[in-house]
């Protein structure tokens, strides 16, 4: 089967997210970058499906030139080739991103045939727009379910499980289909030495996308009000146990 996975490069902040002085971006000085976690699981899902059913998986991203790093990482854990839609003007809005991805997928399909499955993350870790995959699926006229915590393919259908208040729901989507996955659907593997070498040699196509902007515009980023707390240190080591249990008694959680 043929699979396409769409991923996003995001910074990996630690204890706090700092903002640049103009309020337009996350200050990434001294920060590493990673693939948005839900999409890391989408890559793993694609790798497992190809192992099980045979075929080929393409990883696609829209982002800065540096996002090639995330494409090569995805190749090191089982994707076969990467496609970079390199933007040079910062973050694109969700409609614009979806339009560019749709065009790119249509072009890839025109050359090599349709993808049986296109995978996205449930939402990107940074912008959290909850819509790019759904827009692409609609533009391509394919069924789409988001939030997958279970995914398998058999008999021309993708079966998807997801969590709901009442329990787990299942969906059965005829292929070709689009699925948005959530972290927890699997446990992503680490690259092997062989995978790392392969990723260095693999083909990563790069081109400049163009698409009309949509109607949602970011104005400025702000930090949420911080919860500061005068921490009461109850003690050091096991000797602090009685003081901890005193606190639990005060809070009424010892029944």
């Amino acid at each position: 089967m043929r699979i396409c996975v769409c991923v996003k490069r995001v910074p990996a902040p630690g204890s706090k997210i700092n903002i640049t002085a103009d309020g337009q971006q996350v200050d990434t000085t001294n920060l590493g970058f990673t693939t948005s976690p839900h999409e890391e699981c989408a890559v793993e899902a694609a790798a497992q499906l190809v192992e099980e059913h045979g075929g080929e998986a393409t990883v696609l991203t829209l982002g800065p030139a540096e996002a090639e790093e995330q494409l090569r990482y995805a190749i090191s854990v089982g994707m076969h080739r990467g496609v970079l839609l390199a933007t040079a003007d910062g973050e694109w809005d969700p409609q614009r991103t979806a339009r560019a991805l749709t065009t790119a997928i249509t072009e890839l399909e025109a050359v090599d045939g349709p993808f049986d499955l296109i995978l996205f993350g449930n939402e990107s870790a940074d912008a959290g727009g909850f819509q790019v995959g759904i827009r692409v699926a609609h533009a391509l006229g394919r069924p789409m379910v988001n939030g997958a915590k279970g995914l398998s393919v058999a008999d021309g259908a993708a079966s998807v499980e997801r969590e709901a208040d009442a329990g787990r729901e299942t969906y059965s989507l005829p292929l070709p289909a689009v699925v948005g996955v959530k972290e927890g659907v699997n446990l992503p593997r680490y690259p092997t030495m062989r995978g790392r070498l392969a990723s260095k040699k693999a083909e990563v196509a790069s081109n400049q996308p163009s698409a009309d902007a949509g109607g949602l515009a970011e104005q400025v980023l702000k930090s949420p009000p911080e919860r500061t707390s005068q921490t009461i240190v109850l003690g050091t080591g096991p000797d602090a146990a009685p003081a901890v249990v005193d606190v639990l008694e005060e809070l009424g959680v010892l029944s």
């Binding site: 997210i17 939402e123 940074d126 959290g128 819509q131 789409m144 939030g147 927890g184």
Partner: protein, 322 residues
């Protein structure tokens, strides 16, 4: 007019929807509601108290159970028929999914997870503050469209009845749903077993990389059992395969709100913190006094969790049997 999507599961109301209704009233415009499927017709009566004037009800064979494409199509047709200035839903999994489906069908922009909406509903542009990074960062954004599709972040607004109830007059909305959209309707379910979940537990004993191994969680489980709570963990733990992802607290895990959260060997990265910050009391156990979790917690013990946690359990047992 503000149109609010009412989320329900085969006729039982998702209380989260009442948050969107409450937010909708802040515009001062008429608030109308949309229920999807005839199983939801009975909900109209529940919506009076929330100031709803009209409840648009969509019926179709495909709408017997939830399906993101069919529901999105209903919202899109409601927008075409009723031309609301704003469509609101609560930013749950379904709320975000359905409005994104509707936005795709209408080729309109959509903003997920607003925590504040500013200005008049009828203006060309709606200004708002929305969450990024699961709440670790905020964004002022503007949404320009004839109908503004927006979800209100879950828990950002406390649901409250209106000062004056509405008539909640039922009105049938004529919809035409392509039967092929049944392809994404729920096809089966496994009901949840009863019991405390991570999201609702009164006590969570969370462990991080400092726990060191899967076996290292046994003492945390004992403490949790002693307090009627459950075990949680950080992403470092799930990535190592020590615990299942169902135990993960944080941006890409579960958001918890217990009375007490024990954070053992967890540094308190921002993505973990957003999942834990609704806890009423946090007790951090960490070898590092400077750890972010320690400085944010109400109480802390500085030390090795492998010694501290069993000592706490022993002390609780001693007092219980005294």
């Amino acid at each position: 007019m503000i149109l609010v999507l009412i989320e329900h599961d085969r006729g039982s109301l998702a209380p989260a929807s009442l948050e969107a209704l409450t937010a909708a009233r802040t515009f001062g415009d008429a608030v109308e509601a949309l229920t999807i499927g005839d199983t939801a017709d009975g909900l109209a009566a529940d919506l009076e108290a929330y100031g709803v004037t009209v409840v648009h009800q969509a019926h179709d064979d495909v709408l017997g159970d939830y399906g993101p494409e069919a529901w999105g199509e209903v919202v899109a047709q409601a927008v075409r028929a009723l031309s609301p200035a704003v469509v609101l839903a609560t930013g749950t999994d379904r709320g975000n999914e359905v409005l994104a489906q509707a936005a795709a069908r209408l080729d309109l922009p959509f903003a997920a997870n607003a925590i504040e909406l500013r200005g008049s509903a009828d203006a060309d542009t709606l200004d708002m503050t929305r969450v990024r990074w699961g709440g670790s960062l905020l964004e002022d954004a503007s949404l320009t469209a004839p109908t503004k599709l927006v979800t209100v972040a879950h828990h950002a607004v406390d649901a409250a009845p209106a000062d004056t109830p509405g008539a909640a007059t039922p009105s049938l909305l004529a919809v035409e749903i392509d039967p092929s959209l049944a392809r994404t309707v729920v096809s089966g379910r496994v009901e949840r077993e009863a019991g405390v979940t991570l999201a609702t537990a009164p006590v969570v004993v969370g462990g991080g990389r400092g726990v060191g191994s899967a076996d290292g969680f046994a003492p945390l489980q004992e403490l949790a059992d002693e307090l009627g709570g459950v075990v949680g963990c950080s992403r470092a733990v799930t990535n190592n395969g020590w615990r299942n992802h169902t135990d993960q607290v944080g941006q890409t895990g579960t958001r918890i709100a217990p009375d007490v959260y024990f954070a053992c060997g967890i540094s308190g990265a921002i993505q973990h913190w957003v999942g834990a910050m609704a806890s009423k009391h946090i007790i951090a156990i960490n070898t590092d006094q400077q750890a972010n979790m320690v400085t944010k917690a109400g109480h802390a013990v500085i030390g090795d969790l492998h010694e501290v946690v069993p000592a706490i359990t022993a002390e609780i047992r001693r007092r219980k049997s005294a």
